[in-house]
């Protein structure tokens, strides 16, 4: 059963990674974790998890329709796995929505605030209802395990047919309404994909995908648990799918012909190639494969065929969901690793539930079991380590929990802290000198800071000439700008440069060459040093020279600035032997000076703000 162990370990690790990312996402917001922007507000989570997730759950209604409505009894072995997959698929959709929504705790608002004009409203309701229906459809299976719930089970079994019927009706609605979602963006979607028939196309492709998803799953589990696959049934499904796909192809091409966009297929831009690839993967190649009887009945053929349909349909949903809008918006979006890991983690978690279910319940005709589940089998000491970790449940618990926590820890380690630190630049009010000579320096705004005798330092530094010793780098015309205006992260290096700011201030794209020498890679390394333009930033005699665009963390900057002098002073000045000790400055006292407390209205701070009301570069489509 090594194959199962390895698979489960990987799945647990993916789940763990996703958990760490999900915690980050809820702690710091979507901006830190995703690559979503104002132009691309929907990304991988909608395109893959929701759009493709719902489509992949189509197996449930397709197979129940074949079995209960069309009364094809021989498909019985596939009904339970199909319903289970559908249920898990919809739970995946709900989970990923909970991550993707900005205010997931308001998801129930859909039930009380109605906007029936919105396709999303309809999709939301259908998903909620259908998930409930699937739960009711599936629950007799686990309930069969104990006799305690026999009554409930009997009632559920009585209502099976109406439930199935309701499930099919609901699926029809939301599978198609997912297409309706994008009817409202005729200005953004590429014409090859935009058509008023989107809902119908979505529905037809969902049927084909449902057939193939069930097949794919049967093949996957048979590989994993080394059990015989239902190859005969899969061949029949393949045969049916080829007709559905053929019909889909026909409708799609005819629609393009009527709307006059058929020629766009061969226009040679990347959208046209994408379109061709999509149709090939999703429909044309599978139709050919499944039309050859020998291929249709071979395991390899089934693997390839079902995989192609699944992959192709996912590609189609991603294309409609945003990929093909890039041409209009001009903004390229690629999911961050954190988005990917959340998607993968949700799939992994539900795959674990799936594996758990098929081991615990009667999903397949033969329930896959680890041989050691029988308590009287002699324990198998693993060949390499000669160890035995206990019965399958104990061993699994030991092994997978370790994999899980390691993955969570790695997830936390990989979180881009610089993004967290610099995204919300600390709300800064310049600390004012109090009593004319003392500053209260509180870099991280926690109320604890250093009381800095400013006047005394000026005096010790012999007058105003010494200012540059500390004020090594002022913002233009501003000697009093706090250290934190550049050293933003308390403990991490920050980017003080602000590329966008400079780019727009310098007049947009044309000004790149002002800093980046022509003909070289445009990186920070090849750019001109700051001081080339900002001569006054680094006066002679400054304690610290800045040559790169990054600046040390606030704490580092302050320590580097203060500690050397203090050390020197402590060594030479016997009056203050304690000067070099941390608590001399960090004495933990929080002087409650009223002028420092509280936020001041924006109006009074306006003059200190680097606002950029005027934007020179307009919207001119994608950057050439």
């Amino acid at each position: 059963m090594n194959r199962v162990h390895v698979t489960k370990t990987i799945l647990w690790m993916l789940t763990g990674l996703a958990l760490a990312v999900a915690l980050t996402r809820f702690a710091f917001g979507l901006g830190v974790t995703t690559n979503l922007t104002d132009t691309t507000p929907w990304g991988l989570w909608i395109g893959f998890d929701v759009m493709a997730g719902v489509a992949l759950g189509a197996g449930g209604f397709v197979i129940t329709a074949i079995f209960y409505i069309l009364r094809q009894e021989k498909f019985h072995p596939l009904v339970r796995p199909a319903v289970l997959t559908a249920l898990l698929g919809y739970i995946a959709v709900i989970l990923s929505l909970l991550v993707d929504l900005g205010l997931p705790w308001n998801i129930w608002h859909m039930m009380i605030y109605w906007n029936p004009h919105s396709p999303l409203f309809e999709v939301g309701w259908c998903v909620m209802l259908y998930t409930t229906v699937l739960l009711l459809e599936f629950s007799p299976v686990p309930l069969a395990e104990t006799s305690r719930w026999a009554n409930i089970r009997r009632v559920l079994m009585k209502f099976r047919f109406p439930l199935v019927l309701l499930g099919i009706m609901l699926s029809t609605l939301h599978q198609s309404s997912l297409g309706s979602l994008f009817l409202i963006t005729p200005f953004k979607s590429y014409p090859l994909w935009y058509t008023p028939l989107l809902p119908i196309l979505f529905f037809i492709s969902a049927i084909a995908l449902g057939l193939m998803m069930v097949s794919f799953e049967s093949l996957c589990t048979s590989w994993l648990y080394r059990r015989p696959a239902e190859n005969n049934l899969v061949a029949r499904l393949g045969s049916a799918a080829r007709w559905v796909l053929g019909f889909y192809l026909l409708v799609r091409l005819l629609d393009l012909k009527i709307s006059g966009n058929l020629a766009l297929i061969f226009s040679g831009n990347w959208e046209s190639w994408l379109f061709i690839a999509e149709l090939l993967i999703m429909a044309i190649i599978p139709i050919i494969l499944f039309s050859i009887p020998r291929v249709r009945h071979s395991a390899t053929g089934q693997w390839i065929g079902s995989f192609l349909v699944v992959a192709g349909t996912i590609l189609n949903r991603v294309n409609v969901g945003g990929l093909t809008m890039v041409g209009t918006t001009g903004e390229y979006y690629f999911p961050s690793w954190m988005e990917v890991s959340i998607s993968a983690g949700i799939v992994a978690a539900l795959a674990l539930v799936f594996l758990f279910a098929i081991e615990k319940f009667q999903i397949w005709e033969t329930r896959p079991r680890e041989p050691e589940s029988d308590p009287h089998v002699q324990p198998a000491f693993s060949r390499g380590g000669q160890t035995w970790l206990g019965s399958p449940s104990v061993a699994g618990r030991t092994r997978y929990s370790l994999a899980f926590i390691i993955a969570v820890a790695i997830g936390f380690a990989l979180i881009p802290a610089h993004k967290i630190d610099s995204s919300g630049v600390v709300d800064i009010v310049a600390a004012r000198a109090l009593g004319g000579d003392t500053l209260f320096v509180d870099g991280n705004r926690d109320g604890f800071g250093v009381a800095f005798p400013h006047a005394a330092h000026i005096k010790a530094g012999k007058g105003k000439e010494s200012c540059v010793g500390c004020h090594h780098m002022n913002l233009p015309l501003d000697r009093q700008s706090g250290c934190y205006s550049c050293h933003r992260g308390m403990y991490l290096t920050a980017d003080a440069f602000g590329h966008d700011w400079h780019a727009s201030a310098a007049g947009g794209n044309v000004a790149c060459v002002d800093c980046h020498t022509r003909g070289e890679d445009r990186t920070a390394a090849t750019a001109r040093p700051c001081a080339d333009c900002h001569k006054d930033l680094m006066p002679e005699g400054a304690a610290i020279k800045v040559n790169t665009y990054t600046v040390p963390s606030y704490a580092d900057a302050m320590h580097d600035l203060c500690i050397p002098c203090h050390r020197q002073a402590a060594a030479t000045n016997s009056d203050h032997p304690d000067l070099y000790r941390c608590p001399t400055c960090h004495n933990g006292k929080s002087p409650d000076w009223p002028t420092l407390a509280g936020r001041q209205p924006w109006k009074r701070r306006l003059n200190n703000h680097n606002i950029l009301p005027v934007v020179s570069a307009g919207i001119e489509g994608p950057t050439p």
């Binding site: 809820f26 917001g29 979507l30 901006g31 979503l36 922007t37 104002d38 507000p41 929907w42 329709a65 409505i69 069309l70 009364r71 929504l101 900005g102 205010l103 308001n106 998801i107 608002h109 859909m110 605030y113 109605w114 906007n115 029936p116 004009h117 919105s118 999303l120 409203f121 309809e122 939301g124 019927l165 099919i168 009706m169 609901l170 609605l173 198609s176 309404s177 309706s180 979602l181 009817l183 409202i184 005729p186 200005f187 008023p196 918006t329 709300d427 602000g498 966008d500 727009s504 924006w602 109006k603 306006l606 680097n610 606002i611 950029l612 009301p613 934007v615 307009g618 919207i619 001119e620």
Partner: protein, 251 residues
């Protein structure tokens, strides 16, 4: 009655007083360049901005307050809706954060609090609270040159056409917002082409109508599918029964 804002691009001097006024009135935070911002000056903290075009042209950008707003039609919980006066406003108590409005907006206006733990959709709300108190929007009040003015929509359209007629050589012969996407409450007259403000120029259909047909066919599709399935089931059941009988006979 329906109110509107008319911006005369020729009169704007790019002083950004409107931006400052907007920030002040709504207590918005300061702005910093962020990776997720589109480069048009709008952000969750700036609900209006001034875009500079070559040749010292300044165009104020803000929510267009469509007469038939796609954002309101797409919002599943109706968090975005049109007031009686015509302002498209946002109810943060209802919002789920699905961002369908941002996808649906043909002008790419709504912005998101990407860096907040509790994020909301942000955009110009036409100072609807000020309107209720009988005041003008902050921006039109603040404009020193009268480049952006406030009034009845019909009157402002007329005003726009009047200005064009008066100085046809100065203006392009078009009031932006009169027909676009079914008409908007924020209008422009200009000496340069303003089509770059929208994703697709010349789109004169009201966007909600695109999904309307699909949504209207939902109940018939639902019942139709149910009926079809029941019918199919009945036929097949009957056929199987007959088949069984005939087999019995043959036996």
């Amino acid at each position: 009655m329906s109110i509107a804002i008319l911006t005369d691009v020729t009169k704007c001097i790019g002083c950004a007083e409107c931006v400052v006024a907007c920030k002040q009135v709504h207590g918005l935070d300061k702005d910093l360049p962020r990776v997720w911002q589109k480069n048009d000056g709008l952000s969750a903290c700036s609900w209006t901005s001034v875009i500079q075009r070559p040749g010292n042209h300044y165009i104020r950008k803000q929510c267009r307050h469509c007469l038939e707003p796609a954002c309101a039609a797409s919002c599943p919980v109706g968090a975005l809706h049109t007031t009686k006066s015509g302002a498209v406003i946002y109810d943060d108590q209802k919002c789920l954060g699905c961002r369908y409005c941002m996808t649906a907006c043909p002008y790419g206006i709504p912005r998101y609090d990407w860096d907040r733990r509790v994020p909301y959709v942000r955009k110009c709300i036409l100072c609807f609270e000020r309107l209720e108190r009988g005041l003008q929007p902050a921006c039109t009040t603040a404009c020193p040159t009268g480049a952006t003015i406030f009034g009845e929509r019909a009157e402002l359209i007329a005003e726009g056409h009047r200005r064009i007629k008066a100085e046809p050589e100065k203006y392009l012969n078009r009031v932006w917002g009169e027909h676009e996407v079914g008409g908007t409450s924020v209008l422009y007259v200009s000496d340069i082409d303003l089509d770059f403000m929208a994703y697709k120029p010349g789109l004169d259909i009201a966007l909600p109508t695109t999904t309307k047909k699909a949504m209207e066919s939902v109940p018939p599709a639902f019942l139709g599918m149910g009926a079809t399935m029941l019918g199919l089931n009945w036929i097949i059941k009957r056929r199987q029964k007959l088949q069984g009988q005939s087999e019995d006979k043959e036996d």
